[in-house]
């Protein structure tokens, strides 16, 4: 992203609402929070400057979310003090937080799809038994906010019809409507295209200019560098560093987060593509309603190369993986693995695809990749439960199962190394490592990977990427789907862009340019040209109303 990094200094004193003192909007003093024996937050002190963007970064489990939950009234701290606007405040519920002017934009939006924007924003503040009056009050306030911040949201649009970026702006609008002048955004860019991210950051800059205090929780270093004024780094429940953004850089922040040196740049040899392992011809898929999810997909996957699929989530990538993995049958076209041809007539059968040498690391590891209620040892055999190595006669050999899990955990450094622990009790990164270990253990000919590092710590990302590269070099044909453009660009040898169920572009990774890919991802979307247009239209409409 080539966002202009705002100068750090001149915002703290930007005049906004009536009486703004240049001091702290929020002060946290020695916050402590334990969950049983684990310490989630340890002696945390922070000063959030008014009218500035403060970034809080840290790996999963570093305690960021706990801290924000304390600030927003989901949890209460065991010790310590919170000062809002210089006064100590006892935040016991979210109502207290909202009353103190704190607003939260959650990672997963909390919106009713079948309601309009206006109805969503009124929810919980209907203003009396009859909606009519409350609605007109809300509409007036909404138009005022629109005029002030220019979010470009039509109050009468159905939320379910809005693109993700716009839904996020509805969340922001909701917080502003409730009088928030301190806005917490939790991993806000995970679901956005680069263009939508830019738009979000422009809005955040406007909010900042009007005096809103913003707390940005993220693990994306470049975003921290692009938009924040201050940054706090958290590790293992404690604040390990505080830097004015202008005085630091991505490399330093990454090292502070992980606590050791990390390579941000992936090192890999040029690919040596071999024979075609998987070939899709005119592959198509219709969903239950008859809508095309996949449309004339043509694809060659060669041994020893990584093909990356870039795209905004929900443009057919998930469906493509599911079809190739045998979970769903194609509606038209065919694909070939080795000398086996799969057509709409052949019954879909993930077990058969495994026999053909396809391994699949699914996007949704909680629902597909493992059974959260199973022990790690049980999850480590998912999909391979009939293999002779796990059996003694008719019965399962629990000792062999546990031993095999131990070996996988050892090789892929899954922590903690307890084969009997429930899968749900491992962190996201360790769950992912266990799944990857399982799928790579059989030395598959073809590897399908969905979101290899979603919700995974920097340290684990490095490891997962190097494992994928190692298997590529060993001759595995790998297809990687990721919404993280960075990841696709650094892993893949060849990048395909998917949009509206079609492949809309192909670029060699060496020549790929983020902006160009972003345009392919967004513009070629069906109706993508107008993706921005409805917003402008709605702006005009909403301004025409008064």
């Amino acid at each position: 992203m080539t966002l202009p990094a705002p100068a750090a200094d001149d915002h703290a004193t930007t005049p906004g609402k009536a009486t703004l003192s240049p001091d702290a909007a929020i002060e946290l003093r020695h916050i402590e929070k334990r969950f049983g024996p684990t310490v989630a937050n340890r002696d945390i002190s922070m000063t959030i400057r008014r009218g500035a963007v403060t970034g809080i970064i840290g790996e999963n489990g570093a305690g960021k979310s706990t801290l924000m939950s304390i600030l927003y009234g989901f949890y209460q701290a065991d010790a310590g003090e919170i000062l809002v606007g210089g006064r100590p405040l006892d935040i016991r519920t979210t109502h207290d937080a909202i009353a103190a002017g704190i607003g939260m934009v959650h990672q997963h939006f909390v919106l009713v799809d079948t309601f309009t924007v206006l109805e969503n924003i009124m929810l919980g503040r209907e203003g009396g038994p009859l909606l009519r009056q409350g609605k007109s009050v809300a509409r007036r306030e909404l138009l005022r906010l629109e005029a002030e911040y220019g979010l470009g949201i039509d109050p009468d649009a159905l939320v379910g019809n809005l693109p993700v970026g716009a839904q996020q702006r509805v969340e922001i609008l909701k917080a502003l409507y409730r009088g928030a002048d301190i806005l917490i955004l939790d991993e806000p860019t995970g679901v956005l295209t680069p263009q939508e991210t830019d738009q979000l950051f422009r809005i955040l800059a406007t909010l900042r200019a009007k005096g809103t205090t913003i707390i940005l929780i993220t693990h994306k270093l470049r975003e921290v560098m692009a938009i924040t004024d201050d940054v706090y780094v958290m590790r293992a429940g404690a604040v390990v560093a505080h830097r004015p953004t202008a005085t630091t850089n991505s490399q330093e922040l990454a090292e502070l987060m992980v606590g050791r040196k990390v390579r941000l740049k992936l090192e890999k040899k040029p690919a040596m593509p071999g024979a075609v392992q998987l070939q899709a011809t005119d592959l198509g898929l219709k969903d239950e309603r008859g809508v095309d999810c996949l449309n004339h997909i043509n694809l060659d996957l060669r041994a020893g190369e990584i093909v990356g699929i870039a795209g905004v989530s929900g443009n057919g990538q998930s469906e493509l993986l599911e079809v190739l993995a045998g979970i769903r049958a194609p509606s038209s076209g065919s694909f070939t693995v080795g000398d086996r041809k799969i057509t709409p007539q052949s019954a879909c059968d993930p077990a058969l695809m495994r026999e053909l040498g396809i391994a699949h690391i699914p996007e949704d590891r909680h629902r597909l990749g493992l059974v959260t209620r199973f022990t790690a040892a049980e999850s480590a055999m998912l999909g391979y439960q009939h293999e002779a190595g796990y059996r003694r006669g008719w019965l399962l050999d629990s000792r062999a199962i546990r031993a095999s899990c131990d070996r996988l955990m050892e090789r892929f450094d899954v922590r903690p190394r307890i084969a009997d622990l429930r899968s749900a009790n491992f962190s996201g990164g360790n769950q992912q490592k266990l799944i990857i270990a399982r799928e790579l253990a059989r030395h598959p000919k073809v590897l399908l990977v969905g979101q290899p590092t979603r919700g995974v710590d920097i340290g684990a990302i490095e490891f997962i990427h190097s494992q994928l590269i190692a298997h590529r070099d060993a001759g595995c044909a790998i297809l990687v789907v990721s919404v993280e453009l960075d990841e696709v660009m650094s892993l893949a040898d060849r990048i395909l862009v998917m949009c509206g169920g079609r492949i809309t572009g192909e670029v060699a990774a060496a020549e790929a340019d983020e902006r160009e890919l972003g345009l392919m991802m967004a513009n070629a979307r069906r109706g993508g040209e107008d993706a921005a247009a409805p917003n402008q239209r709605s702006l005009r409409q909403s301004r025409a109303i008064p």
């Binding site: 334990r34 049983g36 993995a325 949704d364 629902r367 597909l368 439960q385 009939h386 399962l396």
Partner: protein, 375 residues
């Protein structure tokens, strides 16, 4: 939010909480007994001594227990696949029909050693067949198994009345029932066997079917936790998507699981028809199929838990019968109330006491953590 902060030790989860729930149920039942002007402590004493205080009481208790084990296992087995089979009543009834047909046809011609496995197989086969249509509808048409199996209970009831009254009752009989089977075809009573070893025991309906119930427990335990098919079944029960990902044929799993569940329920017919009644009578299932739901809930869907829960329900049944016999003011309906309360507290309200235990343990843990710092 307090739920996230502590994980309870296993013994609390599987022992302390269920016991507390049962005690609460008895406490409330005691209040009701008090309300109708009777002494709850005396009632409890009669119940317990009636169920466990004599050889006769124990025999009856274990006889009831046998039936509860079969139906509890049936519910629990399907439940591990996320399927709620509440048709145990009908499957048990039809299982009894299977036993009856085998005995009617062969009790004069075949020796017991052949008859028994044949009857057991017939009970399982008929129980499985009775759930086959609901299972098919669930697997291939998405009709909900709860609706279809409960409907099939009524069908079973109607079918059995028709068959017994119009087909199976001998001409000239005074009540609707089949002829008595030969004495040689009966599963031996426990008091007979003990008598042979010189141990005197009052005659009770308890027969060797209880061994069959324990074998069924072992089978369920092995199948669910020690075979690849049980693994697939449980994977399907926890996460259908994960099961599909793992290559599990989900339709086949639904069919097989429900058929085995029906077969387990059908075994009630072996205990009742071949072990106790020695002829087919109407309504011999007496609600065991429905009670199986509560037994499975209480036993946490594990064979060991189901044996324990079945014992409790056996005690309630036998002790309740004894209680209404000894104290006419407390009618048989009262024991149904107590059973209902146990089901309510250990089934529907199973999480009622959990937060208290969690708070207790959070407190203990925080004390334990605080100590080293003070020292």
């Amino acid at each position: 939010m307090s739920g996230r902060s502590v994980t309870l030790p296993r013994w609390v989860d599987i022992a302390a909480i269920p016991l507390t729930n049962v005690l609460l149920a008895f406490l409330v039942a005691g209040l009701i007994v008090l309300a109708i002007g009777e002494n709850p402590l005396e009632a409890t004493r009669i119940m317990i001594s009636g169920a466990l205080g004599s050889g006769e009481g124990i025999g009856y208790t274990l006889y009831y227990t046998t039936n509860y084990i079969f139906t509890g296992l049936a519910v629990a087995f399907a439940f591990h696949a996320g399927l709620f089979n509440i048709g145990g009543e009908g499957q048990a009834y039809i299982g009894g029909l299977g036993v009856t047909l085998v005995l009617l046809a062969f009790d004069h011609s075949l020796p017991f050693a052949v008859l028994l496995p044949l009857a057991v197989l017939a009970a399982m086969l008929f129980g499985a067949l009775w759930v086959l249509i609901p299972a098919y509808l669930q697997a291939y048409r998405g009709s909900h198994i709860v609706i279809t199996t409960i409907m099939f209970n009524f069908l079973a009831s109607a079918l059995m009345v028709y068959l017994v009254v119009n087909v199976l009752t001998p001409v000239g009989a005074t009540e609707p029932a089949t002829r008595d089977f030969t004495a040689e075809s009966a599963i031996p009573f426990v008091h007979e066997i003990l008598g042979r070893f010189g141990i005197a025991m009052d005659s009770t309906p308890l027969n060797l079917s209880i061994l069959l119930a324990l074998i069924a427990c072992l089978f369920v335990w092995l199948y669910l936790w020690h075979t690849p098919w049980g693994y697939e079944l449980r994977a399907f029960g926890h996460s259908e998507k994960a099961a599909i990902y793992a290559g599990v044929k989900t339709r086949r799993i639904i069919l097989i699981t429900l058929c085995i569940s029906g077969a387990l329920a059908g075994l009630v017919g072996v205990n009742e028809i071949m072990g106790v009644q020695h002829r087919l009578i109407l309504n011999f299932t007496a609600g065991y199929g429905f009670a199986g739901i509560a037994v499975a809930l209480m036993g946490r869907n594990h064979p060991v838990g189901i044996v324990l829960a079945s014992l409790l329900f056996g005690v309630l049944s036998q002790g309740g019968a004894e209680l209404s016999f000894e104290n006419p003011a407390i009618t048989r309906d009262m024991t149904v109330v107590i059973q209902g309360l146990v089901i309510l507290f250990s089934g529907a309200l199973v999480h009622l006491t959990r937060p208290w235990f969690e708070r207790l343990f959070a407190f203990i843990l925080s004390r334990r953590n605080a100590l080293p710092q003070e020292a």
